[in-house]
Symmetry: C2
Subunit: 197 residues, 2 copies
Amino acid sequence: MTTLATSPATATAATTPTAAAPAIQVSPEVAREHFLDWLRDAHAMEEQAETMMSAMSGRLEHYPELKQRIDMHIVETQEQARLLETCLARYETDTSTLKDMTGKVMASVHGMASMFASDEVLKGGIMSYAFEHAEIATYTTLIAGARVLGDTESVRVFETILGQERAMADWLAEHMPETTMTYLSLAETAGTGTAKR
Amino acid sequence: MTTLATSPATATAATTPTAAAPAIQVSPEVAREHFLDWLRDAHAMEEQAETMMSAMSGRLEHYPELKQRIDMHIVETQEQARLLETCLARYETDTSTLKDMTGKVMASVHGMASMFASDEVLKGGIMSYAFEHAEIATYTTLIAGARVLGDTESVRVFETILGQERAMADWLAEHMPETTMTYLSLAETAGTGTAKR
């Protein structure tokens, strides 16, 4: 067992984990076991995110800006899944089991993703915003784990992804009052059914 | 129908909705109908939050600081539910139907809350962080709706609650790397079963 001092977290936005982690005693074997579990969970999370965002984008008819932003994040998400596979590949020679695992890891992600599939633009927006923060928290955990392992390449990957998740969350937040107004306006002029899509 | 100019949103943290909503054309009847739906959803959300946080707090054994912060937020959440009832009471003479509605409004909240009930401290923390942001987004929608209705008293209530949700989210974010380190350390010294609680 070795004592591993973790380096201070990089400067981040106000609501993102920033505290420097204390030095802890943990064996590389234990750290690696849990880190790889979290990494597989994150991969499953991104695959779910892609599926659910595609469904949401496909339903939206009257919110072109939101649809465009979601489509942009779908492309980012596909690349994120690929990047996570490169991180996993450095620990495991075989990543073909990833697909089989999607069904069993992190049932919570599946539950969350099913909400994300709301047929209503406002609840879809609320849940997307929440989902982005589940991702932000997940990568914060992963960064802490990668630092314990001294895996600077993975830290770099996670920080890149974290920036994309935060940008998506910020965009959703900024546009939420406007989306609410558009919803009410459409409900008035064209009915609630139209406002929802 | 009247044209209602909505006032600019108050200054908020970086990841919280901040854009000023545009002037829209909406009748008070339509605005009120949707606003009250969102308000009932928010009430159901807070009731679920209380139930789930109580379950999480009850399970935690080795994370005293986290448990204490959750317990503090449970008290805030009870008061938030009461404040939402006062907002509803100004529109409806009878709030006794609220309890009956909990079962059917916002199935997504129930799904999310069930994840929140994870028996694992890290996933519980990730999901709590996501749940706080679902609440933050919900109150942002409510503030936009209340402004359309000129309901300044409700705006004041929602902004108070928003501040408490943001403070809880920030606390969770700040302590996430530390919780991860404690988890790994406990997994090393006492096993994963202990680390989870």
